[in-house]
């Protein structure tokens, strides 16, 4: 794909296996976020295909991706700031709501039951991410680390098969990072969710991911287990620079 003539991603091809944690790393501007935006349909590729659950397509649309079970979090938070934590996470259940507008407006039985059912699921997620105390607070008033957690909660509310995390630990202190790592691993294990995450903290990446893709200037320069990637000369060059 290109941005105004600048090629942001060229010939990048990689696979994600069911139930694995796949990391995407690379220096700033390598095209990591663009890659996520392609998978989730925010951007349309000029060429190439996206295959998901055995079905290849030339582009994805965001709400289609959501319907197919692809959820994501955002690097620069895209939460609904004026709304409470609870409401934010409940919006993640929109696709699961079947009752009609009129039924909701008139507070008919099925609509109310559906709301309660979904609320239960959301409460489970709130408990899982340990944000019970902030339920009613407007998201905009929470500290950054907690907002990141709400972002994750909203994505989990979709009950995704594939979860895309764009720098889930950026700007966090050590303790917050450890918490987030724990949550990511738990999501992977308990819910069986497949994860693709972008992360800058090498320690985190090497610890939690099964396989790693390395991008540099929109090209793939490495792909493999953390150990393989760490040993690759090309990756080392990209990160440390080469003496000319």
């Amino acid at each position: 794909m290109t941005f105004g003539g600048i090629k942001a991603l060229v010939d990048v091809s990689f696979d994600v296996l069911e139930h694995e944690i796949r990391a995407i790393i690379g220096p700033n501007g390598a095209g990591k976020s663009s890659l996520l935006n392609l998978i989730n349909g925010v951007y349309a590729p000029l060429a190439g295909t996206i295959s998901y659950l055995g079905q290849a397509r030339t582009r994805m649309h965001p709400h289609e991706a959501a319907r197919l079970g692809i959820a994501r979090t955002f690097q620069s938070l895209a939460l609904f700031k004026g709304m409470s934590v609870l409401d934010n996470i409940m919006t993640g259940r929109t696709l699961r709501m079947r009752s009609g507008l009129l039924a909701q407006a008139l507070y008919l039985g099925p609509a109310v039951r559906e709301e309660i059912e979904n609320r239960k699921r959301v409460e489970a997620i709130i408990e899982f991410l340990e944000i019970q105390a902030y339920r009613r607070q407007p998201v905009g008033s929470l500290p950054y680390g907690l907002q990141k957690r709400v972002d994750l909660a909203r994505a989990l509310a979709l009950e995704p098969r594939l979860l895309l995390l764009d720098e889930p630990m950026a700007g966090m202190n050590l303790e917050e990072k450890q918490d987030m790592c724990r949550f990511v691993l738990d999501v992977n294990e308990e819910f069986g969710t497949t994860l693709v995450l972008i992360e800058h903290d090498m320690g985190v990446v090497m610890d939690i991911s099964d396989r790693v893709v390395v991008l540099d200037y929109g090209r793939k320069i490495g792909d493999g287990t953390p150990d393989q990637v760490r040993a690759s000369q090309e990756v080392i060059n990209a990160y440390l620079g080469i003496a000319h």
Partner: protein, 345 residues
Amino acid sequence: MKPAMQRLSIVRLRRQWPVVLLAALLAAGLLAPLASGAATAGFFLEVMLGGLMAGVLYSLVALGFVLIYKASGVFNYAQGAMVLFAALATARMAEHMPLALAVVAALLLMIGFAWLVERLVLRPLVNQSGATLLMATLGISIFLEGFGQAVWGNDIYRIDLGLPKDPMIVGVHLFEGGVLVSREDLVAASVAAALVLMLSLFFQKTATGRALRAVADDHLAAQSIGIPLNRIWVIVWAVAGFVALVAGLVWGSKLGVQFSLSQVALKALPVAILGGLTSIPGAIVGGLIIGVGEKFADVFLGQALAHWFNLEGGGIEQWFAYVLVLGFLLVRPEGLFGERHIDRV
């Protein structure tokens, strides 16, 4: 209070002085007739009530405006035309069927209209600039007025809601002569208040309302969690159409359904801007301020101009709302309850 905090609050006050000045000016203008003896307490209250009633109707139209602006960022110039169109449809259809049926038919018409707008205007123009969308709604507004006339004619039509026409006099023992209250206005104001309450409940308590708020907050994020934007737009325009219908009914029963209705309804524009464009309470408070302000200006400012400068002093009601909003914008560009934009550089 710590010295640092004290300094902060003084700085804040100093920055706020234009707002304080404007508020003081308005308050002075409001109280002047009473203080100078130009009006008795009873008459003063009557004018005030009249202004509040008119204000509620402005609020109603402004509400439709704010809904659409919030959910889709579209500055809907056609809200006034929608009021006229809905009222015209009801008035003419009521000639052939019971009024209740005509109202339902008009509602269905407005929902169909919302669907068409989404299909034919919003969807093709997605991601275009605000100015383009504004021009599009200007086009919709002119089309609606013309289409309405072509189908239903351009005379003055009546909508008879069966509201009590005779005014009542209250508080005779409090003021000399009591206060004259129009029962029709009272009913209209209650209807508007009930509608506002219903809408805010809908927004706060239902799943669809939550999705609407989410879209208003962040389009991209809303899309990524599977909220269908197109459907949301249809709903918002349909709700705005419903609000327009209610405003059209009330106004039409008061003044008769005529072409000028869309011009009066356009006053909702300064009302919405005053309230802050994205705020539902803002639309309501803004409507009340402008309703009262313009009634006072019309009655008392006109009197004063005639008295002191020997001018005619008429027609103030036409322009006062716009001047008031201009004054507000000078001191508070984001409106009363609007979001203040602080951009990082």
